[in-house]
């Protein structure tokens, strides 16, 4: 992702903000779409496109759970484990997904296909226990078989063309 591409993305919305600092978060989200995380080069490009220092841009990025400053898998699976989901078996679901993709709890599978993370309340307690793939619609209530089916379909799909996390 180049600074030029980010600037082009920002051009139509620049006038919507009285302070250009507000562009940093949209720019970071846009930059993350390419690789699914934010390598140093992407941070530098965001800094150049917005006119802020790379150190500042990184300080913002590091605050937010869904901006990844380390590499993650081609798909990020978030299993909600907050109270409503816990009461409906989210811990077992998390363990089951981990076993399926071969991680020991949270982490990235050896083939780099999946990163599994436990999430705080995803706002889908009516679907508990639920999971979310990247920032797609939350799915649930899930039996372990249904979770396997979702993972199987993701394996068949491979990497997305753009990452929305």
């Amino acid at each position: 992702m180049t600074a030029h591409e980010i600037s082009e993305f920002l051009a139509p919305i620049r006038h919507e903000f009285a302070d250009q600092r507000s562009l940093i978060l949209p720019a970071l989200r846009f930059a993350q779409e390419e690789q699914g995380w934010l390598p140093q080069g992407a941070m530098a490009a965001v800094a150049e496109a917005t006119g802020y220092s790379q150190a500042y841009v990184e300080s913002v990025a590091s605050f937010y759970d869904r901006l990844y400053t380390e590499p993650v898998g081609r798909r990020v699976i978030s299993v909600c484990t907050t109270l409503s989901c816990m009461l409906r078996g989210s811990d077992e679901l998390l363990a089951h997904v981990a076993a399926n993709i071969g991680t020991n709890g949270e982490g990235t599978s050896a083939d780099g296909m999946f990163t599994l993370q436990r999430a705080e309340c995803l706002g889908a307690c009516d679907r508990a226990p639920c999971l979310q793939v990247d920032s797609n619609d939350q799915q649930g209530p899930l039996t372990h078989d249904a979770a396997d089916a979702i993972i199987g379909a993701l394996r068949a799909d491979g990497a997305p063309t753009r990452y929305d996390r």
């Binding site: 919305i13 919507e16 903000f17 009285a18 302070d19 600092r21 507000s22 562009l23 940093i24 978060l25 949209p26 970071l28 989200r29 917005t50 300080s59 913002v60 605050f63 937010y64 759970d65 869904r66 901006l67 978030s78 484990t81 907050t82 109270l83 409503s84 816990m86 009461l87 409906r88 078996g89 811990d91 077992e92 999430a119 705080e120 309340c121 995803l122 706002g123 889908a124 307690c125 009516d126 508990a128 226990p129 979310q132 990247d134 920032s135 797609n136 619609d137 939350q138 209530p141 899930l142 039996t143 249904a146 929305d164 996390r165």
Partner: protein
């Protein structure tokens, strides 16, 4: 037990995901009525309706709007808080998913009242699907001239900018949200000044929750008096409750305030519990409120009644636990949430939430001592009320109340060497 879909109009009408469908169902009548008033009269109507903030604090919406100075010489902003992240709460998600134009109309109505030409809707980062729905709705409104240079009449511009968060519970706190919207780390500000005086870009700003703003179109169409006559005098109108946990029919229920009890909500609307199970506890207004027991089940659902019962209406996210659940394990899980989501700015919260999780964790895992309960009690007052925002209070409330109401359970778990891992409930509503 009256239900009234005033905000959830998508449950009454088809096709509210297109502008034409929304207009066919009476959409924009609220804004039309508002534009025939002066902004002052619109503000007065907000006030007279009695509508209170639906995000959690319950502050009167009209009063909040009236705090904005009219002669600051600076732009005025309206910001819609769509960062719904309170555990157990998923009511705004359904508005965004199914009835986005009513929210847009509500934002426009509020904006006309306070003289705002550009409003912002801050959407929680995880709500990717809802973001897409809103993007399409905004584009449709712009194409039809509902938003843009002549939105409020010839030469009277109004537009809405969507802004997407990136995963942080704290950004639902209004000043943290503003920080995030300004391109910063989402950490709460010292108040005062309140956002009404110095909010977004230091300008006068009205911040309201999705449900609050989406309540405005019917209020302005049917009249403030219509709304204020629904339910109790101090808590008028309808409120959406999200019910989750150990109930057979988890979901959102829009009810008339004060005329439905907690028991009606849980055992009638939400289908009650599994056969053979007893009610144990519920957190009626999201997880940041004191827990309630079976003896509170006949409490009417409105701000005053829930406060009298010792809890809060909060966001209306009602989490229900039956007797298969362990109150200590539940408290520990909530403590984990607040420790994870503490932004770290205030020491009592940053350190205190860590201690709460650690102590509850060792009790759950069999390493607790009876002295831990006294240590927990000594912590509450050192965390609560000593921070910039309410996250710390929210972390303490469910734990402190659980310890007060279920002390025997805490002692038993310690004496029995931990909390047994619960049997999974299985999927009962697939």
């Amino acid at each position: 037990m009256p239900q009234l879909n005033s905000v959830y109009r998508h449950r009454e009408f088809q096709d509210l995901l297109t502008l034409t469908g929304y207009e066919r169902a009476g959409g924009w009548n609220g804004l039309k009525a508002t534009l025939e008033m002066t902004p002052d009269d619109a503000l007065y109507a907000f006030h007279r309706s009695g509508l209170r903030g639906r995000g959690g604090a319950g502050f009167p919406m009209g009063r909040k709007a009236s705090f904005l100075p009219v002669d600051s010489g600076r732009p005025t902003y309206v910001v819609c808080n769509a960062d719904e992240s309170e555990p157990g709460t998923f009511k705004d998600r359904e508005i965004l998913d199914k009835n986005p134009f009513q929210l847009i109309e509500g934002v426009a109505i509020a904006s006309y009242g306070v003289g705002c030409e550009r409003a912002y809707i801050y959407v929680r980062g995880e709500y990717g699907h809802q973001w897409d729905v809103l993007l399409r709705a905004i584009a449709e409104c712009r194409a039809a001239g509902r938003l843009g240079p002549d939105a409020f009449g010839p030469g009277a511009p109004f537009d809405i900018t969507l802004y997407r968060g990136a995963g942080a519970y704290i950004c639902g706190e209004e000043t943290a949200l503003l920080e995030s919207l300004e391109g910063k780390r989402g950490q709460p500000r010292l108040k005062p000044p309140y956002p009404a005086v110095a909010g977004l870009y230091d300008c006068p700003t009205l911040i309201n929750n999705v449900e609050t703003l989406a309540a405005l179109p019917p209020i302005m169409h049917r009249g403030a008096d219509w709304y204020s006559a629904i339910g109790p005098e101090k808590s008028p109108g309808t409120k959406i409750f999200s019910v989750s946990g150990h109930v057979l029919k988890p979901g959102n229920y829009e009810i008339v305030m004060g005329e439905t009890t907690l028991r009606d909500l849980i055992f009638d609307l939400a289908g009650g519990l599994r056969d053979g199970r007893e009610f144990k506890a519920c957190w009626p207004g999201g997880s940041s409120v004191p827990v309630l027991t079976a003896e509170h089940l006949d409490t009417p659902l409105d701000y005053e009644s829930l406060a009298s019962a010792g809890s809060f209406l909060g966001s209306g996210g009602c989490i229900v636990m039956d007797d298969s659940g362990c109150i200590v394990r539940a408290s520990w899980r909530l403590a984990h949430f607040y420790r994870h989501e503490s932004c770290g700015k205030c020491t009592p919260c940053r350190e205190g939430t860590g201690w709460l999780e650690k102590i509850l964790g060792r009790i759950v895992h069999g390493d607790g001592r009876l002295e831990d309960l006294a240590m927990l009690e000594s912590l509450f007052g050192r965390i609560s009320g000593r921070t910039l925002c309410a996250l710390a209070d929210g972390a303490v409330a469910p734990v402190q109340s659980a310890l007060e109401l279920f002390r025997d359970d805490f002692e038993r778990v310690i004496q029995q060497g931990g909390s047994p891992v619960p049997e999974p409930m299985g999927v009962i509503n697939a």
